[in-house]
Amino acid sequence: MMALVVLGLAGIGVAGLLAHVVFGALGDMAREETRTRLESIPFVLLELAASRIPAELRPDLEAEWRAELAFHIDGTEGMPVTRIARGIRFAASLLRGAPDVTRGFTGQFRDTWATARREAGVVVTVIGLILVAGGAIEAATTTQHAYGAACICLASCLVMRGACAALGRKAGNLAATVRFAFVCVAGALEYVARPSPLLLLSCAACLLVFALTVRSQIAFRMHARSCPACAGEPAAGR
């Protein structure tokens, strides 16, 4: 009996030792992995910066920036935090300034990300329009108006976001205005089918917000006419 207890304790001890070794090794590996990943952040940022440059300029500039980054973090061996911070500062600044580098070389503002955003905007707009049409058909042909209203609201967001991206405009109050307009229409359809005081109240609240948003839009447009600083919305990606 005593021998069994001793054997059991010895087994537990060995298992504990093994677990300690295994978890210690795993911890070291995880630390090493994290360290490597963190050290690669500046290079990832540099790749992203290069992706904003047109293809004809990219290889040359990326080679230069990589060489400078290597030189920039040189001499920081044994100081991993300094190394990463220095690298990130260099690469992040280039990520922000990459379109200006292109403009410096070509004289034109060309940001490949802006082009990608516009293309994505067109796709989102088309998807949104399909959803709007589907929601409208659903609302008109069945009594499930809530579903149609939800579809319309969701799709109107997509349409506005997509259209703004496609046109290179920032989605601002205009998107909110149209969204509230759709909510009002959807709410009215729902009320016609199933009138209830709660729905009437929520509809009235939406209508009020819609009216206030329109009012602020009109006020802004009137102000922008006479204020050169406010005329025109800033282009996306700038």
Binding site: A63, E64, W65, R66, A67, E68, A70, F71, H72, D74, R89, F90, A91, A92, S93, L94, L95, R96, G97, A98, D100, V101, T102, R103, G104, F105, T106, G107
Partner: protein, 111 residues
């Protein structure tokens, strides 16, 4: 040789090159000398290179032998050096502080 829109930051970079017009400079050196971040310095270098004021060329080193990738150097072109000197002289005169009086202006009539 194209015209370049002169800004204070661009003049600061030109000043670094004008200290020794034959000395090739690297982006890192210029960042340290001017204190500008990479996102501000490289657009300036791009403008000056595109306008022909600077000449940009890769180093002639073998990366495997040197143990590092080849860096790119920037040096003022012949015309660029003349234009840089002219721009620095013109704008340093414009930015110079007004001549200050050593004595306060006396009120009332002269002695």
């Amino acid at each position: 040789m194209q015209d370049v829109r002169i800004t204070l930051a661009l003049l600061m970079v030109l000043r670094q090159f004008a200290e020794d017009v034959t000395q090739p400079r690297y982006g890192y050196d210029l960042m340290r000398a001017t204190g500008y971040p990479s996102g501000k310095l490289y657009p300036i270098l791009a403008r000056l290179t595109a306008a022909g004021w600077l000449t940009r060329a890769p180093e002639t080193v073998n990366p495997s032998e040197a143990g590092r990738p080849a860096r790119y150097t920037y040096v003022l072109s012949t015309d660029g050096a003349a234009l840089a000197r002219q721009a620095l002289a013109e704008y340093s005169a414009e930015l110079a502080p007004p001549r200050m009086r050593l004595a306060p202006r006396t009120q009332g009539g002269s002695a």
